[in-house]
Symmetry: C2
Subunit: 267 residues, 2 copies
């Protein structure tokens, strides 16, 4: 089953290394801008079509301007293709109200072939200890309030209880552990994880603050097993109006599949 | 006092956005290649000279080919200069034995003005709990063996004991906490921290493995107070011949000054 994210982040190749698509309003935030993880998935998917290695293993993105639903292009460049790794860059560009195209997001990513080597994994942390998805409180998807952002209808989260901020009582503790699933029932691909790590609300909401991503780097470590994903999110350091947010994503088989860190502006 | 790192990573501007320097063998590894943190400091310093904001707050680098001592250029581009943040890219390029210039490192970095806002810091973790520098076992600097890599003479580390790998007995535990100081006695600047986070040997040596950095993202959070720095390094996840390494750097005043994560190839 091709998921909504893959459908809405797929591009058409219109020239050497140049891709085009219409960014979908289905991945919008409250204010009409588009979710950052969706933008990242778009740019990474276009780049993946150009790079001669199958699996993105690290992607690093700078968010330069808001992206909005509608036409956009992705300009890709393969920078180096080696024996074990291949690297490329992508720029997601969109015309402003003046008709001039500007960078919305710049991405650099390195690809490998995960199937070429055994996992042979070694982990110092394990997945979040959560009750089964169906025994948790589920939020998002069809349960999202009618007034919720469109993106919150695309995803389902599950945790023993709603986050404090969602109950109107920010907990003061910028940490969260929760299940993640696409609302359409599709299983996340390796590339989809670039969205997943920025698909939930920022944990600084539990400090009573909003957030806007400046830069995000994600390591994509393993193709996820089918089924919902377990996520662990924490913001450990705030200073000068900036904060980091770390996310780990674990699959149903207990493998760490993605790990991200972003630097964001406190709002 | 201008430190050796600042001296050896300073460039001359030879054209619009184009800088040149001779990469110094003083920052070399065992095999004649140059330390990755040194390359990062070179590219970031050249970019900092072009971007209209004083403080790099996040820098993300992909290491594409080995850099060697000798002539190199840094090609910079300012991508966006906004009110609170400014972003640019830099490519460190060097001619190979065939005389053709190729990318050694590609960098994207965002700058801010840290002095424009109070620190107002909030940290969930604290600095490593270490005995005073002078009561620790010191390694590197003038104490480095004559056969050690040149870069190990530029820096001094101090910890209650030498790492297991350095005693010929890898501990099996890929974690370390240690003091860091430049061997010349200079205090680290904010920009120097881009070197510091890649200035120590990888902790996977304590798993009996070597490492080669693929991608490194560093958050530069605070201008460091004078004095030695405390570092905490951990590798939590290895799979498919790749591993991450996280580094926190704390200054003498107890502030988190830098935080990095790299993805590296196991050797």
């Amino acid at each position: 089953m091709i998921g909504e994210l893959e459908t809405d982040s797929s591009t058409g190749r219109i020239d050497d290394g140049v891709h085009a698509l219409s960014l979908s309003a289905r991945w919008g935030l409250d204010d009409g801008r588009l979710n950052g993880g969706y933008q990242l998935a778009v740019a990474l998917r276009a780049l993946a079509a150009e790079v001669p290695m199958p699996d993105p293993v690290v992607a690093s993105a700078t968010f330069l301007r808001p992206a909005t639903p509608g036409p956009a292009r992705v300009l890709t460049e393969v920078v180096r293709a080696g024996r074990r790794l291949a690297t490329g860059t992508a720029r997601l560009v969109q015309a402003g109200s003046d008709g001039v195209e500007r960078d919305v997001l710049r991405l650099e990513a390195t690809f490998a072939d995960l199937a070429a080597s055994p996992a042979d994994s070694h982990d110092l942390t394990g997945p979040p200890d959560l009750p089964p998805f169906d025994r948790c409180r589920v939020f998002g998807g069809d349960d999202a309030p009618a007034t919720a952002a469109p993106v919150s209808r695309r995803v389902r989260f599950a945790a023993p209880e709603l986050p404090g901020w969602a109950r109107g009582k920010p907990s003061g503790d910028p940490r969260a552990e929760f299940w993640f699933a696409f609302a359409d029932g599709s299983d996340a691909t390796l590339l989809d994880l670039a969205f997943v790590v920025d698909g939930a609300a920022p944990v600084v909401l539990d400090l009573g603050r909003g957030s806007s991503t400046v830069q995000l780097t994600v390591h994509l470590r393993e193709r996820p097993a089918p089924g919902p994903l377990r996520c662990r999110t924490v913001t450990q350091h705030l200073a000068h109006g900036l904060h980091e947010e770390d996310v780990e994503v674990w699959d149903a088989a207990g493998a760490l599949v993605a790990q991200s860190r972003q630097l964001a502006l406190l709002l």
